[in-house]
């Protein structure tokens, strides 16, 4: 965007440069209403959850290193798969992108803060309570739920009190997401600087605007599903029990009506980050801006009518299978548009390959592979063979890890200099990328083979023919974990003693935060909105 800025009123910002609302120490963070502080809190929270969920993944992979039960019993194994999924989705990926939204949206649209600053504080501070409830469920009689993150009825009825902890945690997480989304929608619709029309916004803001609508639409549906589970468990209702006129499959319909849009809640902000990073390192504007916006909206709308493709094996009528299959394959069209646009952005640019760009290209390559396996899985007959196998596990990790997580790393390396004024160590960043890339594929590429050969997911033990791929996958998992320690080391040394970042470390970056705000950004920005002509 080549917006022309009226810079009057800039010197003003120095006057109350760095005051933190009158509190210091821990109270600063508890009481803060500053979007940058809250963004930071979200990101630290996501980081902690990422490592907690990662530890659980290591328990899973260690048990699956060889046939037989060695380390954990099947009950605890199921608890691990459940909590790994819940924590990674609700604790790590979603908060990470809300963190980016908090930091970046106000700066990108020329707003002084989020629309509802106190609500913003509350949205974040709900999360630690939810996470604590989730973790506490391990220490209840019977432990955490062993149902998988999808919490399917009627297995949920057999669980201990840990299930109730999880249900309330999901309620709180949902509340946090809804409040955060209302804030993002209001901020984007009402607080753009004069001249910042919707179609001039950086793509990251667009993807978040659409994501926020998705969240407001589907989180209450999830809350409904888990509340019905709660009343089935304790108050004698039979929503999901055929003996009382209910239907276990009803749960799946409600859950996936939330669950499929949730996939895009995670993917769309990731698309947004990638749409900032690729143009910056191609030194070329994003190709097909308008079609990118339409494609994002199309994906979001389609995501509401494809949910039952997660349920092809429940035995729905043939017309139902065909409808959901056709609708699902349609998603390939707008997703294809986005991939083609990113590649065209790179085409005839002037490319350089710093860490954020490496993660973005890694995203583009591996996420597209996840898209291909998504196309394979969208087709009913093939899906019936692959449903609930490791092929599905491989598919959604290509979307969630190589998609969302790679994009989150791209965002962190991209924006860290702007936020902190410190430059990360490029060599370590590149090591982090390459090792993550290699070990990611070592873990998950072979899982396609396992699924095709017939290994079901969510099993603590397996027949002998699956041994070799499982060993490779498990070794990859530990390599992956070690690679993330490089990131931690790089992050901490950067924060503590990183080199001073140049004013504009990425010459191709063109959003307002890069072009018109100093590095590091002051505590308060855009007290006087910029005017775009």
């Amino acid at each position: 965007m080549s917006a022309v800025i009226d810079t009057h009123g800039h010197g003003h910002e120095h006057d109350h440069g760095d005051h933190h609302g009158g509190y210091s120490g821990i109270m600063r963070w508890i009481t803060t209403t500053n979007h940058k502080d809250i963004g930071t809190l979200y990101l630290w929270f996501a980081g902690i959850m990422f490592f907690a969920g990662g530890m659980m993944a290591l328990v899973i992979r260690a048990e699956l290193f060889e046939p037989g039960l060695q380390l954990v019993n099947p009950d605890f194994f199921n608890q691990m798969t459940t909590m790994h999924g819940l924590i990674m989705i609700f604790g790590a990926i979603m908060p990470a992108f809300v963190g980016f939204a908090n930091w970046q949206i106000p700066m990108m649209i020329g707003a002084p803060d989020m629309a509802f600053a106190r609500l913003n504080n509350w949205s974040f501070w709900l999360l630690p309570f939810a996470a604590t409830l989730l973790m506490l469920s391990f220490f209840t009689p019977g432990g955490a739920p062993g149902t998988g993150w999808t919490l399917y009825a009627p297995l949920t009825v057999q669980q201990g009190i840990g299930m109730d902890f999880t249900i309330f945690a999901v309620h709180i997480l949902g509340m946090s997401s809804i409040l955060g989304s209302i804030n993002i929608i209001t901020t984007i619709l009402n607080m753009r600087a004069p001249g910042m029309t919707l179609m001039k916004m950086p793509m990251f803001c667009w993807t978040w605007l659409i994501t926020a609508y998705l969240l407001v639409a589907v989180m209450p549906v999830l809350a409904g599903a888990v509340t019905m589970t709660l009343t089935d468990r304790h108050f004698g209702t039979t929503f999901f029990n055929a003996a009382g006129g209910g239907d276990p499959v009803l749960y799946q319909h409600i859950f996936w009506f939330f669950g499929h849009p949730e996939v895009y809640v995670i993917a769309l902000p990731a698309f947004g980050v990638i749409s900032q990073v690729i143009p910056a390192f191609s030194r070329k504007p994003l190709f097909g801006y308008a079609s990118m916006v339409y494609a994002t909206a199309a994906i979001a709308i389609l995501s509401f009518i494809v949910w039952a493709h997660h349920m092809y094996t429940v035995g729905m009528p043939v017309t139902g299978q065909l409808f959901f299959m056709y609708a699902t394959t349609l998603i390939a069209v707008p997703t294809g548009v986005k991939v083609f646009n990113w590649v065209s952005t790179m085409w005839k640019g002037s490319l350089s390959f710093e860490t954020p760009m490496l993660f973005a290209i890694g995203f583009l390559f591996l996420f597209t592979l996840g898209g291909f396996t998504g196309l394979v899985l969208s087709l009913v007959p093939i899906d019936i063979q692959l449903q609930d196998t490791y092929y599905v596990v491989a598919h959604f990790h290509y979307v969630m890890v190589a998609g969302a997580m790679f994009s989150a790393f791209a965002g962190i390396y991209f924006w860290l200099p702007k936020w902190t004024g410190k430059m990360y160590n490029e060599t370590l960043g590149q090591w982090h990328f390459w090792l993550t890339l290699i070990f990611f594929n070592m873990i998950f590429f072979v899982q396609h083979f396992l699924g095709m050969a017939g290994m079901p997911r969510r099993v603590p033990d397996y027949p002998l023919m699956f041994e070799t791929w499982n060993k490779i996958s498990s070794i990859g998992a530990f390599g992956f974990a070690v690679s993330q320690l490089i990131f931690l080391y790089n992050l901490f040394t950067t924060l503590k003693s990183g080199a001073t970042a140049p004013q504009k470390p990425w010459e191709g970056a063109d959003s307002l935060d890069w072009t018109h705000l100093p590095t590091p950004v002051p505590y308060h920005t855009w007290e006087t909105p910029p005017v775009l002509k």
Binding site: P67, L69, R283, M325, V376, D388, D461, L464, M465
Partner: protein
């Protein structure tokens, strides 16, 4: 780190040489499985591969040629309506083209009409019950559960070739006949799946669903439960033995004879020793996964039987809970799966093991409470 990973990979290659690396679908043994394999190959080779080469050809070419370090100047174009319309319409057309063959398979896969044989598969935590409902063999009924010994699973004993894929009683079907499988479940959702047949169908408590297969070749075909159903989800395989029509007829005759021979004399008075010995076998097959060999269970989900109030209390309470199960827990109604004699035996075993001294019950006492 690299070196250790490489060393690990090399060690694997050496150790894995014995076991073949499975990386594709198992060989198909039904028309639907043939169709699935064909569709998968078609999608991968005709759709995915060309798009992959095209997209990443452009991407990696740009990464190689259009670099700043090579002095490539950045052009500033950022839209091209023709190209954008084309790459929206062409993928849509491709989707319409692939929809045609896929739709035909979906319809064929759903067509469970006019079967030669109808079998009901009931998922239990954690075994499969089979009832031959219609066709040759009507009336045959049995429960099929994992035959792999616990020592191989828990204690690292050497594992058989078909570790976790072997059962005590296989499902037997005739070759070349259309078999319709009705699925349902007694407790939570399970899924009946045999990869070689391309047949997978969720088994949903309280509902009947169906799928079908027609085995083209004789042999033994193995699968596993495909829907997380609790603790022992990984330990409830499905094994189907496909036999010739003659062998099948013979097998059915054997089953009928055996059933007649088993017809129990419900009023027989058993000696405690004899009953408890029989009960130990029933316990090892049905109860040990949860309540454990030492009777201590894994509380709180799976309560101990040693010293239990129910086990040491009145006979009636003990009989009722085994017959009817306990709602909302994994304790299932065994009255639907086991004979009254076996139930009496296992109750007798529980009441006189692990320090319990509550005395045995006779099959007639179980029958009296079996509604």
């Amino acid at each position: 780190m690299f070196i250790s990973a490489l060393a690990g990979a090399a060690a694997l290659a050496a150790s894995g040489a014995a076991a073949a690396l499975e990386w594709n679908f198992p060989p198909a043994n039904s028309p639907i499985a043939d169709d699935i394999h064909w569709l998968h190959q078609f999608i991968m080779l005709a759709v995915v591969l060309p798009i992959f080469i095209l997209v990443f050809g452009f991407m990696f070419y740009a990464c190689y040629r259009h670099r700043k370090s090579k002095g490539h100047p950045a052009e500033q174009f950022h839209e091209n309506t023709t190209v954008e319309i084309l790459w929206t319409i062409i993928p849509a057309v491709i989707l319409v083209v692939i929809a045609w063959p896929v739709t035909k398979v979906v319809i064929a896969q759903k067509d469970t009409s006019s079967p030669d044989l109808t079998i009901k598969a009931t998922g239990y935590q954690w075994k499969w019950g089979y009832d031959y409902l219609k066709g040759e063999g009507e009336g045959v009924s049995f429960v099929s559960m994992l035959a792999t010994p616990r020592e191989q699973i828990d204690a690292g004993a050497p594992k058989d070739e078909h570790y976790l894929l072997e059962v005590d009683r296989e499902l037997v079907v005739p070759v070349g006949k259309k078999i319709r499988v009705l699925t349902t479940a007694a407790d939570v959702i399970h899924a009946w799946w045999v990869p070689a047949f391309g047949a997978k169908q969720d088994a949903i408590p309280g509902f009947i669903r169906d799928t079908w297969f027609r085995a083209e070749k004789s042999g033994i075909f193995r699968g596993q439960c495909a829907e997380l159903c609790g603790k022992e989800h990984g330990f409830m395989p499905i094994v189907v033995r496909v036999v010739s029509q003659d062998d099948y007829t013979q097998w059915v005759a054997q089953q009928k004879q055996a059933a007649a021979a088993r017809a129990e004399d419900i009023n027989k008075k058993w000696e405690p020793k004899e009953l408890v010995a029989q009960g130990e076998k029933v316990y090892a097959a049905n109860c040990v996964a949860c309540h454990q060999a030492n009777g201590r269970g894994t509380p709180p989900a799976f309560p101990p039987l040693a010293g239990s109030k129910v086990v040491n209390g009145p006979k009636e309470g003990h009989i009722d809970i085994v017959l009817n199960g306990k709602a909302g827990t994994a304790m299932q109604p065994f009255g639907k799966q086991l004979s009254d004699t076996d139930i009496a035996a296992v109750i007798g075993y529980e009441r006189s093991s692990w320090g319990n001294k509550a005395g045995i019950v006779q099959p007639a006492e179980v029958r009296a409470r079996h509604k």
